[in-house]
């Protein structure tokens, strides 16, 4: 009899075994346990990629919630006013979305500069660097398009100015600007377009690219800074990704959540007066901090080289930095320490300090003109 030949096992397989047989959970856990993260005095910077991801998840979640009441087109301002003042806790959801957007840009920038200084763009991580740069670009377009959606005075003027940058591109610029605006002026048509861009086009581009970026991080692991790389293998310390680094990651996410909550509650995001196409630009108008460097650079150059020449000079300088930043894996390849490597590092220091300086000068200038 079959039952005698094959006695039933003493313990019945539980739910975990049932799922594991079908989904291969233990394979994933084994993989995660096998994965390690290098440990050294710069390990702190490894958390910023995870933080960027966390802020993005918050954006996704609060963005979907805002979609429940937001109406693009000519009702945009009214619906944001309703969200802010009428819907229960609407002010909080909107405030979290705005604060988290700023923190996400900040975290992505920190992540990028730390990857730059650890030379994480070198072989075999070139595509992680490039996909990261495109993700940063998309993050900035997210910020720019989302900023217009409430259609208040500030967002209206900021978008008007921002699109002037597109106007400056020779030949195709003006056509492009008209297409983005959906007309010669920023109008409800622009909000409708930016809305489609912000909630459909950008997420469709962003999510697969993010998966690709995360896949590459999984494949190649974290890069160590050059100083750590050159140590003998016996001196290198690592930490298991699961559960150790994962737990630390969650801890950082918890801190980030608390920071967002405090900022969003104590400094709720304002809604200005409704945009009026006939009103003159308000005093002290300025872009979000992350668009301040190009904005202020143009302002400074304009003082010395007025007119179109100055604008082209500023745009050219910015384009040169962008090209340097994109192509850095090619002229600072792995194993070629020495002058090229040092040149690139100092170039990075120059770019970082230049950006911080331009942001600081930009805000100082605002304070000055206000007086």
């Amino acid at each position: 009899m079959g039952t005698l030949l094959y006695p039933e096992p003493k313990t019945k397989p539980g739910l975990y075994d049932w799922l594991d047989e079908r989904l291969g959970i233990s394979d994933v856990i084994a993989l995660a346990k096998h994965k390690t993260v290098p440990q050294h005095r710069h390990s702190f910077w490894y958390y910023w990629g995870g933080l960027s991801l966390f802020f993005f998840i918050i954006q996704l979640f609060t963005g979907i919630l805002l979609l429940v009441y937001f109406r693009p087109g000519k009702d945009a301002y009214d619906s944001v006013r309703q969200i802010t003042y009428d819907i229960d806790f609407g002010w909080l959801i909107r405030s979290v979305h705005s604060w988290s957007a700023n923190l996400m840009v900040f975290a992505v920038c920190v992540h990028m500069f730390s990857a730059f200084f650890m030379k994480a763009y070198q072989k075999p991580r070139e595509f992680a660097w490039w996909s990261g740069l495109v993700l940063l670009l998309l993050t900035l377009v997210f910020g720019f398009s989302g900023y217009l959606l409430p259609m208040d005075e500030l967002s209206f003027v900021a978008t008007k100015i921002g699109l002037q940058f597109s106007n400056m591109i020779p030949v195709v610029g003006p056509v492009l600007a008209d297409l983005i605006r959906g007309g010669p002026q920023v109008s409800p048509d622009t909000v409708q377009r930016f809305f489609a861009l912000h909630v459909v086009v950008l997420p469709l581009l962003f999510l697969p690219l993010l998966m690709f970026h995360l896949f590459l991080v999984q494949k190649h692991g974290n890069a160590s800074p050059p100083g750590e790389e050159s140590r003998p293998a016996s001196e290198k310390q690592t930490m298991p990704f699961f559960p150790n680094f994962f737990a630390m990651d969650l801890g950082m996410w918890l801190i980030a959540l608390n920071v967002i909550t405090i900022l969003a509650t104590l400094f709720p995001w304002d809604l200005g007066p409704q945009a009026d196409p006939l009103a003159s630009a308000p005093n002290g108008i300025h872009p979000e901090w992350y668009f301040m460097p190009p904005f202020h650079l143009l302002k400074i150059i304009g003082r010395f080289v007025p007119g179109v020449t100055g604008e082209l000079l500023g745009m050219g300088l910015f384009a040169a930095v962008l090209i340097f930043w994109t192509l850095v894996p090619l002229f600072d390849p792995k194993g070629k320490a020495g002058r090229a490597g040092r040149f690139v590092t100092w170039g990075g220091v120059l770019v970082l300090s230049g950006m911080i300086l331009l942001i600081a000068l930009g805000y100082a200038d605002l304070g000055y003109t206000h007086l």
Partner: protein, 159 residues
């Protein structure tokens, strides 16, 4: 179980209690966070429900007689946030009911020819004078409202 777990020196007796305390504590903190995040989200999403319920607190509705159709017909009106039915019978009486079928929530209609209130969704049939169920699946009759006629107005209120 490994030999380490059985070794009393490596695994002193209080540690399992401490472990479970840590687990309970973590669970409680996680529950607090989930609640603190979940409550505003719930209130945010349910605002239209709350507002509709507030509007539904209406206890009387007054309709000018001149706006009403003649005897032997009926009119629909909003009682708070729900549709309601006011029937002007051929003998001059006014009766009023909640117009939401008690079966699955469709809006009912007055059929003067068949002398009944009828729900087209599943054939629920109600008495046109009392709102009681005559036929079909509804579990109970329609809610009856009080009707008063005075000063050129018909005033409907909760009975």
């Amino acid at each position: 179980m490994s030999s380490e777990a059985l070794n009393p020196e490596l695994n002193p007796p209080h540690s399992s209690r401490r472990d479970s305390l840590i687990k309970i504590g973590t669970g409680l903190v996680a529950a607090c966070y989930a609640g603190a995040a979940g409550y505003p989200v719930y209130r945010y999403l349910s605002t239209p429900v709350t507002r509709a319920n507030e509007q539904g607190q209406v206890s009387t509705v007054s309709i000018p007689l001149k706006d009403l159709p003649g005897a032997g017909s009926a009119t629909m009106f909003l009682f708070g946030s729900r549709p309601a039915l006011l029937i002007h019978h051929a003998d001059g009486r006014y009766v009023s009911f909640d117009a939401v079928c008690t079966h699955l929530g469709c809006t009912v209609k007055f059929e003067p020819r068949n002398s009944r209130i009828f729900c087209a969704c599943h054939g629920g049939t109600y008495d046109m004078n009392t709102g009681a169920v005559i036929a079909g699946p509804p579990p109970r009759g329609l809610t009856n409202f009080k009707v008063e006629v005075a000063d050129g107005h018909v005033t409907v209120s909760r009975a």
